[in-house]
């Protein structure tokens, strides 16, 4: 018989870490709330009949956002055999609120007090026997991060599930409330499952709209219930929802007083608090954040003695894909005596294209490693806090920050992370703008131009990141002024996790996943595209005859590129590079790594490139001046994301028109910014001359400023929460 155990708990309490060690899975773990937005399933190691279900974090069973709804629906509708409730031992009061609700559900519950190592470290102790007795359920202490006690917790849950045993319901509420609940239970008996009678009664007492609809009571019964609720409210001089919350917290306080022995003063400043005094300081926070980002990009993509990412990438480009791989393949292909066209396909198409992308793997790995460390120690949560203050000044929701932070790895989970936002309008804006953040796949584009045109300056990557953030802010301000997206931003409450040393396992897992995903795409979709691209650039019509061409300027690819390149002429894409840049941009829609692959294939064509992979950089530097290169880079960073991200946008928007609006907006916005950068920047540096497009750029800039500065007529629009 199959046993299903649900992992439930507050956000960032360690559910996914526990899920990974229980099931042997490799799910992404982040040190901030909202990492899990959909439920995930796995089998307990050594118990193929036990299914573990990882649920998104919830603070209570009254959901406000879509991912909270996922958890509630599973817990209430899918009837798990047992619940393994993960409780953050360092924040036990707040976490036990959900515990009391889970116990009300009537399922067997095991409370796993997580982060017990931190509790001990602070000098506190938790008496599990007293805690279990007070809550009426089994309690075990664990440290998911250190792998302590997790098996005991899982085995206890399996045992309870097999025996269908759950403890006695604790007496959480006072007589008046219990009296009202008894009447409600009596009224709905037979209409809901007897196991859930108490839970439904409490929810109906709280006037939970979803439960009211679900139970489908007659108006007469509802009126009868309302009378009892109102009587209780009058007696307690409070509203029903507050009465329940207040009594739960009162009960939790009494439980904590009995079971938790605190030695440290509640108000003593912990090391985390001391660090936060600087890191989240009103004035210092932003410069510290900028410095951290600069250091990160300097190590991964800079041109300093400590820039290990660049050193390794240079080696990969110059030696590995510049000499070793082409050398070995050249020897093999020559020895086999392959035809010239096949030699060209492999060397000029696949090796040049895939090699150009794979050359950036070291930089991606270093960047991923540093980002994973920042996430795991807890700094990225502080980034969300810092950015929230900035975004709120512009009327945006701070909740948009988590998707942005996640999107630095990949836009797809970034877009999915927008589910933590309750309001439809804020969620739509976030989905529309998350793609502006440079993801891992866009890093090679930045690396390519930083290396080719800007002497490996880390400022290029840092500026790309901040342009992405600025685009989110500007877009948010503009979009919030449209009636369909207007409204006050949703409140953002996020707990800052305690700083801790990065877990080698978590950091290694996250780094490996990002790096491996990058390699996988380079060896699948990028490889296939490089073959197609090689064919299109190697053949063409000469004097009306279809044949192999030695000059790729007369190839089929050039014909296709030239047919649409005029669109980008105002952005400075002119001359021979125009069709190459156009083709690279369009191939980038398949996956952003393709931009670099395209340049690798186009500039490597017909043996133009010799031994050093980096020679491609000199060709690119010759075709792209600094402003043109920057304009091209910005357009590719901000325009429509890859197809996978477009799919994610479609899924989250759940509406074709909104999806089209999002993609259209991103393309138009990218074009406008790129136009301004090239026309006005080029005018200053002398790379562009004054033309009608300069006037157009000024007009676009004025238009953008107007859209940003104009009064928001819908600022006070009330919005509904879209669950």
């Amino acid at each position: 018989m199959q046993i299903r155990i649900a992992l439930a708990g507050n956000p960032n309490s360690g559910k996914t870490t526990l899920f990974n060690i229980l099931t042997g899975s490799n799910q992404y773990v982040g040190n901030w709330p909202g990492v899990t937005v959909e439920k995930k399933e796995g089998t307990l190691k050594g118990h193929p009949d036990v299914i573990i279900q990882d649920l998104p974090g919830i603070y209570s069973l009254s959901p406000y956002s879509p991912e909270e709804l996922v958890s509630r629906r599973y817990l209430v509708d899918d009837h798990p055999d047992a619940i393994l409730n993960i409780v953050d031992g360092t924040n036990i009061e707040r976490n036990l609120y959900l515990t009391t609700q889970l116990i009300d559900l009537g399922h067997p519950v095991v409370v796993a007090v997580n982060m017990i190592d931190l509790v001990r470290k602070s000098g506190d102790s938790i008496d599990l026997e007293k805690l279990g007795k007070a809550l009426g359920c089994a309690c075990v202490e664990i440290s998911a991060l250190k792998g302590e006690g997790y098996l005991e917790a899982a085995e206890k849950a399996v045992e309870l599930a097999k025996n269908h045993s759950h403890g006695e319901m604790p007496h959480v509420f006072n007589g008046s409330v219990e009296h009202a609940l008894a009447h409600i239970e009596e009224s709905i008996e037979g209409q809901v499952s007897s196991n859930y009678l108490r839970w439904y009664a409490i929810k109906l007492f709280e006037r939970d709209e979803m439960v009211r609809k679900e139970v489908g009571l007659s108006q007469e019964t509802l009126d009868h219930l309302e009378k009892h609720i109102t009587d209780c409210e009058r007696e307690m001089d409070d509203d029903a929802e507050s009465i329940i919350a207040d009594q739960r917290y009162t009960y939790i306080s009494s439980v904590v007083n009995k079971a938790v022995n605190r030695t440290a003063s509640k108000h003593a400043m912990k090391l985390s608090d001391k660090i936060d005094r600087f890191v989240t300081h009103r004035i210092l926070a932003l410069p510290i954040f900028a410095a951290v980002m600069f250091l990160m990009y300097a190590i991964a993509m800079g041109n300093y003695p400590f820039s290990i990412g660049t050193i390794a990438t240079d080696w990969a480009n110059d030696v590995l894909f510049g000499q070793w791989v082409p050398g070995i393949l050249d020897w093999c292909l020559t020895a086999l005596g392959v035809s010239g066209w096949l030699y060209g396909l492999i060397m000029d198409g696949i090796v040049a294209g895939v090699g150009a992308v794979l050359g950036f793997v070291p930089q991606i790995l270093v960047l991923s490693l540093l980002l994973s460390i920042l996430e795991d120690v807890g700094y990225m949560s502080r980034v969300a806090f810092i950015m929230d203050k900035i975004l709120r000044k512009f009327g945006l929701s701070g909740k948009s920050i988590i998707p942005m932070v996640v999107a630095t790895g990949c836009g797809v989970p970034g877009i999915l992370a927008s589910r933590t936002i309750e309001q439809d309008r804020d969620r739509r804006i976030t989905v529309m703008t998350t793609g502006f953040i440079p993801c891992g796949a866009k890093m090679p584009i930045i690396g390519l131009f930083a290396g080719a045109v800007f002497g490996n300056s880390p400022l290029v990557a840092v500026s790309a990141f901040f342009i992405g953030v600025a685009s989110v802010v500007i877009s948010g301000v503009i979009l919030k002024k449209f009636k369909s997206l207007a409204g006050k931003p949703a409140p953002f409450v996020m707990e800052l996790p305690t700083y801790h040393l990065p877990s080698v396992r978590n950091v290694a897992r996250a780094t490996w996943q990002r790096g491996w995903d990058f390699i996988q795409r380079a060896t699948t979709i990028v490889l296939l595209s490089s073959i197609v691209l090689w064919f299109l650039q190697s053949y063409g019509f000469v004097d009306g005859v279809f044949q192999a061409v030695s000059d790729n300027n007369v190839s089929l690819l050039a014909d296709i590129g030239k047919a649409v390149a005029w669109i980008f002429y105002p952005l400075g894409w002119a001359g021979d590079m125009a069709w190459k840049a156009t083709v690279a941009t369009f191939t980038g829609l398949i996956a952003k790594e393709q931009v670099v692959m395209t340049f690798g294939t186009l500039y490597h064509y017909a043996g133009e490139l010799s031994e050093s992979g980096n020679e491609i950089w000199s060709f690119i530097a010759a075709d792209f001046g600094p402003v043109r290169a920057y304009s091209f880079m910005i357009f590719n960073l901000l325009c429509a994301p890859c197809f996978a991200a477009v799919g994610a946008i479609k899924r989250e928007m759940n509406d074709r028109k909104w999806t089209a609006a999002a993609i259209g907006y991103m393309c138009v916005f990218a074009y406008c910014i790129s136009l301004i950068v090239y026309q006005l920047g080029g005018l200053i540096t002398g790379e562009a001359t004054f033309s009608v497009f300069t006037i157009a750029a000024v007009a676009v800039l004025a238009g953008l400023l107007y859209l940003v500065l104009r009064k928001n007529r819908y600022a006070d629009t009330q919005v509904k929460i879209g669950v």
């Binding site: 959909e38 399933e41 796995g42 299914i51 990949c410 996943q513 996988q520 060896t523 490889l527 296939l528």
Partner: protein
């Protein structure tokens, strides 16, 4: 025929290897699965496992 094959055996060998590689990639893309058993809609991108809702892993 034999002469042609012996003259092009290098091409045939390389094309066969290439065919297997491309075939595997295409199969993976058509089946819509990546190595972690996901639906592949994320093209192997930092996978959240969201598509594995009903799938058993581990």
């Amino acid at each position: 025929m034999v002469q042609w094959i012996s003259a092009h055996c290098g091409d045939i060998l390389v094309l066969a290897i290439l065919g297997v590689v491309i075939g595997r990639i295409l199969l993976r893309l058509i089946r819509g699965k990546n190595s972690r058993g996901c639906c592949g809609s994320c093209q192997g991108c930092s996978c959240t496992g969201a598509c594995r809702e009903e799938r058993t892993s581990g």
